[in-house]
Symmetry: C2
Subunit: 677 residues, 2 copies
């Protein structure tokens, strides 16, 4: 470009350069590599290429912009403004031509790769880079003297107007192509899918003329118990609807191992479970489209995260190998599939699905998605990320390396195998406090904001039915803090504890949390068996974390992130009292919510994120707890509340635990310790 | 390699080089780029790598081969010989090691890219290069300390042992993978598909241990009337079975245009025709596997050739655009599809289909397949290739250029629109001779080798029912040669011709070929209307050929190839008498049989051939007869028998035609011509 050509400066990118007088802004943006969106390819239809010119003197940029820097507003812009409204000061980039030096701001909504801030509290953001885009093209009409197919001419147009390689189309799309081209007067908008795993782009759908969209994608977190999905706008990344259903495989077995057993014991077991989950996925997709009141045909992509057993069952693979060492996966890499192959037959028939990669036989795509969401590989300090469920999947790492393992916590944290345990549902005790002086408990139940000792609780709460996972954790921790349970996990007698709520039960004791028998309700107790179940679960969790720390060569970590729906409800203090997680300052424990679901959503919006999670998974060092000799040792030491040998100094600063011992056949040492307390 | 290393010479390729002492023959072949087959990858299992060492002095190669040039026969070779038999003098290339200078012959059956001679009479041959191959691999066992999927380890093994890029597997194949690997003790044989249009190879199937195959492919010629298929061995190219069925779309319309009309007039017309043809394809594939007594799962590929209307209907595309100018195709390029998408659901579920490209809206993949089979682009002389059917598709060309067009001959050549016309079936007259002196006809019917004037004909032939396409052509041509029909196509009266077989019919005449009325059979005549129908058809054919010659800038051609099932039955002399084809010496007219089917078979066996047909189709110059102004002129001039203006000098040499004129309102000129005769 000549030095006398107009200088164009785009903000916020700061990209600048000279272009010949008369160059359209959109064309200038393309030449300078500025991220300016367009669907219609510069035909003044889509309005995606809006820019805001700034006038006046800009010493920073070294230019003065006169009001004649752009061509006057033309008929196309006036018509667009009249019909659909153009914000004041905005111009259409494909219509406005550059006549002099100019500063042009690209507003966020005109950026194709706009950043989507995930959470207000976080600095990291996701840059929109979806695999499927809407592109409008003008296709050459057929010429019988140079015969070629409509698809071939569409591909020629895409190459010329959007610089894309030749795309393929499924037979149903091909079957609609001729009619659509003619209806649109040889202008059509295509949904072009360019997956990073696919060598060849695919035309997923085609509309006559200009089609504004938006297109949608489903981010699916397929859990053993629940299947959750977010419907996201593939242009903005915005979540338009969310939905969750129970995993219908529950009827074949509550937890993962019982489902693997079901597959082993029943000839069609795996097939039946595959059919059930695929059907649920189809229903879920249908429901979420109805909730959002959108045409399900506009859902053109899905991402799927799940643990290895769910992964194999969704793909139609018998999970039997996952039930025994060496826990061999049928496939571990990320997969690009037709969404219909996963049962997503209720959305666009050509929709594609991306299944995140698995980390190991026990560490699934859900953990990979957590890693994508929480990015331990970018952490300056050493972070332990725990996704608590039937298995606890853990990531420990920082910028230098990331380790992963899975620990078999069992279902106690979900309220199963607990005498009064139940799922997290209305009526379940979810919060517990015990007065250390009076030993009187108070609690809150799901569905009611009042504590049990507040006025109106009985009416507002309705029937108290049981205790859920977070409730049992708080109950046991509060019992430990109130001196009702000793360091070994034993519940004291009413004599030893001074409260009639400690009642004998065989050779052990139980603590009565709620007695609803007067109103035909249940007697909700925490039994010695409940405490043992929680101890087993938390020991497995802690032992896994310790194994990772051993491998990392560290004795302490900097912070803990609790992921998963359950993690969102665990009180960090109570988890620490139980010794579920390594000792860190309480303000360094954070809940990440459904980080796996967030990871699925990030992968939905960004091909770069898909490539990143695949690279991360390859780099993550995997530790198989089942065969690590030190696991058992860590497990035994972690049985105590909070721990037999680890000091938990941070915990001691905020919650010194009473030194009690209810072992009636106590050793001399134990007796001495009790005496000193 | 050092000069002292043994020198290895492979025949017949002549490839030579030095390899270190002890190198296995298979390894030496790979290093020197010699085409030596192997499925088991050198494990002494498959025996595909057999070589025949030659001993003694070879002055031509400059070596003397001692009996110690190869390592002695080892235990693996002995076991193979005992179990399955090794031909005398043969060695297994993976077992025999090179110890000294040696000459090794690679027998044809050990060549992966062996040449398949298509026809005894032809020099051209097809080199086997199928898209799908059997490859045996040894897969690493899973390691829980370095977890990865079985598929990923299989791909690692394929890359290491066969140098292939990572392959994908369909979900059903993935679902069988784990069990198969374990059953085979971590050795499996995979059917690896590496289509030239696919960026990513596909694992179509997997067998435990060593699986010898062979794999099969289907070459399908989907015609408007019949669907023909050949089942070919994908290793040898050999045809193992052939089958044909009627195209069930016939119930929606006899010819192409009536099917297009059916699609236009009926809401689900196109869908119904698609369903019908796909179902027939599935049945045909099932039947052919049964005929060949092979497991249909071993059929892993199919190629499809068809005209544009059949192509669109098979793909599920409404052919309405093909019924009107500009005859726009939905897609013209070659397609790689799942065979199941075409209704081939009765073969391997992961089987792939390759659909040959279309040349133009009227010139289909069948013509492209004919071009592949007959290779006009390699012809030294100018060849006209005619595929006669409801439309006549024509190719004219030589090494310099190739032109193509389609001409609307209508169904007369197939016996339709002929008063006594019928399909080629038992009872149909297919050959006719008329004595020029007595004007008495004799004929042969399909299903009987005797002529009608031979003893025993009546018993052997059974009922004579009508006249088929080749029969009507011979009948009209013989009538012209016997002076019963004049150059304008008029049938003479009994007075003018001197035979009572010329009977009046309204204001015209008919010629009685067979009178079966005494035995309740039909009266089979050639009417004036029949002659007009043949004239219309042959004029269209000839006019198309002339258009191509005009475009080529030539007045005569060197040779004619008649392709198609009908072409196989046309008598070249009679075709020439009618002026169906341009005048060439009779020995330069050849029938190519079902050249489209042959092209489909070549494409089945060779990826290079697929690439070639795609390149050829792009290079072929297409002429749309419907809009060429000179077509009408050529058509009118071609109405006469053989032609009004073209001299047909070659024909005159062998069959001078009587100069008769039966126009009773004849002009002076016509009268003069008659007088002179």
């Amino acid at each position: 470009m000549a030095d006398t050509d107009p200088l164009v400066i785009f903000t916020p990118s700061g990209k600048r350069g000279r272009v010949p007088v008369g160059t359209p802004v959109l064309e200038a943006a393309r030449r300078l590599g500025v991220d300016l969106d367009s669907v219609c390819g510069g035909r003044g239809i889509c309005s995606k290429c809006q820019v805001a010119p700034a006038y006046g003197s800009f010493p920073k940029h070294g230019v003065t912009v006169g009001h004649d820097a752009l061509s006057p507003v033309n008929a196309v812009e006036r018509r667009y403004d009249e019909k659909r409204g153009l914000k004041p000061g905005r111009r259409l980039g494909c219509q406005a031509r550059i006549l002099g030096d100019v500063v042009l701001d690209v507003p966020p909504e005109s950026q194709l790769h706009r950043q989507v801030v995930r959470k207000a509290a976080e600095v990291r953001a996701v840059e929109m880079d979806p695999a499927t885009r809407l592109l409008m093209v003008e296709v050459a009409e057929p010429d019988m003297h140079a015969p070629s197919g409509d698809l071939e001419r569409l591909n020629t147009a895409l190459a010329a107007q959007w610089d894309t390689p030749p795309a393929v189309a499924s037979l149903p799309v091909l079957g609609r192509l001729q009619q659509t081209l003619r209806k649109g007067g040889w202008q059509v908008t295509v949904a072009l899918h360019q997956g990073h795993l696919d060598a060849t782009p695919r035309i997923l759908d085609v509309w006559p003329g200009f089609f504004e969209g938006p297109l949608y994608g489903l981010a699916i977190d397929l859990g053993s118990t629940t299947i959750a999905a977010h419907l996201a706008d593939l242009t903005t990344g915005e979540v338009r609807a969310s939905a969750g259903v129970m995993n219908p495989q529950i009827r074949f077995g509550e937890d993962l191992m019982s489902r693997v057993s079901y597959a082993m014991m029943n000839p069609c077991g795996a097939v039946d479970m595959t059919t059930a989950v695929r059907s649920a996925l189809g229903d879920l997709a249908k429901g979420i489209a109805e909730d959002a009141a959108i045409d399900p045909r506009l859902i053109v992509e899905a991402t799927l995260v799940c643990n290895p057993v769910m992964h194999h069952l969704a793909l139609g693979i018998d999970p039997v190998e996952l039930g025994q060492a060496p826990f061999a996966l049928a496939t571990s890499d990320a997969l690009a599939l037709d969404a219909a192959d996963l049962g997503l037959t209720t959305i666009n028939p050509a929709a594609r699905a991306y299944v995140l990669p698995l980390i190991a036989g026990h560490v699934g795509a859900d953990a990979a998605a957590v890693a994508l969401s929480e990015a331990p590989e970018k952490s300056d300090d050493l972070v332990l990320i725990v996704d608590v469920g039937t298995n606890a999947e853990m990531l420990l790492g920082d910028r230098t390396r990331v380790l992963a393992c899975s620990s078999p916590t069992g279902p106690a944290f979900e309220g199963a195998q607990i005498s009064s345990g139940q799922r997290a549902a209305p009526g379940a005790i979810e919060r517990v406090r015990i007065d250390p002086a009076t030993k009187e408990p108070r609690y809150r139940v799901i569905g009611c904001d009042l504590w049990s000792d507040e006025a109106g609780f009985a009416e507002a709460a309705g029937k108290v039915t049981g205790i859920c996972g977070s409730g049992i954790i708080e109950a046991v921790a509060e019992m430990r803090m109130a001196g009702l349970v000793d360091g070994s996990g034993l519940i004291g007698s009413s004599e030893a504890t001074g409260t009639a709520r400690c009642i004998p039960e065989g050779r052990t004791h139980a603590f009565v949390l709620h007695d609803g028998r007067a109103t035909s309700g249940p007697l909700i107790k925490v039994t010695q068996g409940d405490i043992r179940a929680i101890q087993l679960a938390k020991s497995a969790l802690y032992a896994g974390a310790r194994l990772l720390m051993d491998r990392m060569g560290v004795d302490h970590i900097d912070r803990v992130v609790l992921a998963g729906a359950f993690g969102a409800h665990i009180s960090p203090l109570h988890a620490m009292v139980l010794g579920m997680i390594p000792d860190v300052p309480l303000d360094r424990v954070r809940s990440a919510g459904n980080a796996a679901g967030t990871g699925a959503r990030i992968a939905l919006c960004s091909r770069a994120a898909r490539a990143l999670v695949e690279a991360n998974v390859r780099r993550i060092e995997k530790i198989e707890t089942a065969v690590e000799p030190r696991f058992q040792e860590h497990f035994v030491a972690a049985n105590a509340l909070p721990h037999a040998t680890d000091p938990f100094l941070e915990l001691a600063k905020i919650a010194p635990l009473p030194k009690v011992d209810f072992n009636t056949g106590a050793t001399d040492g134990a007796r001495r310790r009790r005496r000193r307390s």
